[in-house]
Amino acid sequence: MKTVNMDSVSKHYNGEKVLDNISLEIDESQRIVILGPSGCGKTTILRLIAGFIAPDTGSISIGGELVSKHGRIIKPPEQRNLGMVFQNLALWPHLSVKGNIEFGLKAKGIRKSERKVRIEKILNLVDMADYADRKPAELSGGQQQRIALARALVLEPNVLLMDEPLSSLDLDLNIRLRKEILRLQKKLEFSLLYVTHDQDEAFDIATRVVSMKHGRIEDVSTVASSRNQKA
């Protein structure tokens, strides 16, 4: 079953076309990386799927259900069951690590006892159980990445959207976290849509790489499975 389906989507900003007739499908448990230079429209694709903006033309379906179409958002972001890791992580500075993770659980009306269990579980999974009461500012860059991942995954989303999440890290940490993302994806089996401008990062993570330029898809290539086995 297709988890996400973008059909002939176009988007303009201030009269300038940023996406031109994009069609893209993401299958269950697939890892798709969108690769391209700055300004090619990769982040716009994530924001369209998340439901922050509506496509000017074309439609988007998630789990077989139409979520936006022709300038109209049919399902708001909170009803799409997506997780997202932002480029600047967007950890809420006034909340603790636990508070950041708990926010979504509370919003979904999950009971306190279950919230506690799920927070513990996800923090253990990202190896951050000892940091539950810290504020984001008290964590290192790598630790903040893990918390952003934990926050995005705690609601067990169908699709995880990642917007250049490792771009600000040094190469060493970048490579270690790539492995971490792959480990979590294989364990939790969510679909992953990952945006980057780094070719190495793209081919390290993806099962399929979508290359973009000037708002158009230039090429789609399947990555040799042997390359992913490293993880």
């Binding site: 972001p77 909170e78 500075p93």
Partner: protein, 531 residues
């Protein structure tokens, strides 16, 4: 080096204009005939009447603060965060009462609800008893000051909403509706701004005396003013002013300790235009109606009442005849004050924005302290410092009025400059530096032209606040230099309601006309700095 020396000079100037009078007042209140004494304070602190007045002041300030924040926050969110129609129009409209002398709003409501008011003429004096009782006292004072200070939490909410990184809200939107995001993320993030606005409203209400004086609600600042102007008891006036300064200082220290470091993540300016917006959907119509009704009651009604009350050429002819000179003087002092405030505010803002000297934060705090300080305190301080035979060229001339404007309102022009300077990439000045330009050249030919919108906006703010000033001017104006707001205030005791209303309308026109003209000239207030 030139930059550091010049900015150090600006600091010294600011200290001399603002802090020296306050210190002089303090010293003179505790040193009498060369000896340390607290006798002036004894009278103030042991008097039951004074404590009652202090209680009134605190009650009034607390009520006004609670009401303005409770209403200003949601109104600010509606105007700054949603797709409500005519948001900019309503934002400007709500700000109008803040721009005119506070007592004018009180006069207008008195003209409507008072025993001799318009409603009394329509429905009879007996029917109007309850409204008159409401207006003259704590409830009326609270309502009038609420309508005047509402723009402060409203504007600060709008401004702080624009500083939130949109990604923080979007991260919340993935799991929650707008209601949950506002409650759990947005409002906690703008809380420092909301608390800052609460503190400002509290201090401004605490120091305000013209409205309580007119609406006959005895508060502490009136005491200081009365001691000086009615009894000419300078020591008692000073002793009554010091507690006001102390309360201001304590609140600002609390603000500095708890709030200033809690401003979280600033939004990159490039993202300001793409801030997430709440779509009101089905609620749009009734919320629009609610805001329109609020604006009508708070802003339109008081102005319409003054227009009706002053109807007829005769009232305006008499107004210009009796106060034409005062109007011209007011305009002249306001223009001079605004120009100097723009100059001082630009360099203070530059110092704060670039952190060019180690003491930038102290200067920021100093300007805010002086702005928050009740006008009576600054007025008494200026008299205390400059009323000597050697300094009569200041005390006996309008210079003292302008010094009062500079002491009180530099915080405003400095804030406007900081906001504008923050929009200019540091590389602009750095490029000029690399090209060999010295600091004065860089400031004059690169920074100032790029900040021209801020300079113009600063000038307008300086002009409006200098023109509306009553508290300081009333205390310090030399004989023959009475300004229009002071003239209206003194005429209120025995002038006809028609004359007062006409003078108030003249005052409102003189205040808002320049702002309106500049707003309408395309390109002056609307063009952005090229990045």
């Amino acid at each position: 080096m030139a930059r550091r020396i010049f900015l150090a000079f600006i600091i010294i100037l600011l200290l001399a204009i603002g802090m020296l009078p306050v210190l002089s007042m303090l010293i003179k209140s505790i040193i009498v005939d060369g000896h340390f004494t607290l006798v002036s304070y004894k009278g103030v602190l042991t008097s039951r009447h004074q404590w009652t007045l202090m209680g009134h002041s605190i009650a009034l300030s607390f009520l006004v603060t609670a009401l303005t924040v409770a209403v200003g926050l949601p109104v600010g969110i509606l105007l700054g965060k949603t797709d409500l129609p005519f948001r900019k129009f309503f934002t400007v409209l709500f700000v109008v009462p803040l721009l005119i002398p506070p007592y004018i709003i009180a006069v207008s409501w008195s003209d409507l609800l008072g025993r001799e008011g318009l409603l009394a003429h329509l429905f009879g004096a007996s029917a109007i008893k309850a409204t008159a009782r409401f207006l003259f006292g704590l409830p009326g004072c609270t309502a009038v000051l609420f309508s005047i200070f509402l723009p402060i939490p409203m504007l600060l909410t709008i401004i702080f909403l624009r500083t939130i990184n949109p990604r923080l809200e979007e991260a919340g939107r993935l799991v929650s509706g707008w209601h949950g995001v506002m409650k759990g993320i947005t409002i906690p993030l703008i809380l420092p701004g909301v608390l800052l606005s609460a503190m400002l409203v509290f201090l401004l209400s605490f120091g305000e005396f013209s409205v309580p004086n007119f609406l006959r609600y005895d508060v502490f600042p009136v005491e200081s003013f009365t001691q000086f102007s009615a009894f000419y008891n300078f020591k008692a006036a000073t002793a009554a002013a010091v507690p006001l300064a102390v309360v201001t200082l304590i609140l600002l220290l609390v603000e500095a300790a708890f709030l200033r470091e809690r401003t979280y993540q600033l939004c990159p300016s490039s993202e300001v235009e793409h801030l997430p917006q709440i779509e009101l959907g089905a609620h749009r119509k009734w919320l629009l109606a609610l805001i329109a009704i609020m604006a009508f009651v708070i802003v339109i009604v008081p102005i319409v009442v003054l227009v009706i009350q002053s109807a007829g050429i005769d009232a305006y002819a008499e107004a210009l005849n009796r106060a034409g000179g005062n109007l011209m003087r007011s305009l002249m002092y306001a223009v001079i004050g605004a120009t100097l405030l723009t100059f001082l505010g630009f360099f203070t803002g530059y110092l704060i924005q670039t952190k060019a000297l180690r003491y930038w934060r102290s200067i920021d705090s100093l300007t805010i302290f002086l702005f928050a300080l009740p006008s009576t305190v600054i007025g008494i301080g200026l008299i205390s410092l400059w009323n000597t035979p050697w300094t009569n060229f200041i005390y006996g001339t309008p210079i003292i009025i302008v010094l009062g404007y500079l002491a009180k309102y530099t915080a405003l022009t400095s804030r406007v400059s900081v906001t504008q300077l923050a929009q200019i990439p540091p590389s602009m000045e750095e490029a000029a530096q690399v090209a060999g330009a010295r600091w004065f050249r860089r400031a004059a030919f690169i920074v100032a032209p790029l900040a021209r919108r801020g300079l113009l906006a600063g000038w307008l703010v300086g002009y409006i606040f200098s023109l509306r000033d009553t508290g300081i001017t009333m205390l310090v104006y030399p004989a023959g230099h009475e300004t229009l707001p002071v003239r209206i205030f003194t005429l209120m005791a025995n002038g006809s309601p028609q004359l007062i209303a006409a003078l108030c309308m003249v005052m409102i026109t003189a205040t808002l006309l320049p702002a309106g003209i500049l707003w309408m000239i395309p390109g002056i207030m609307t063009r952005k700095v090229t990045r």
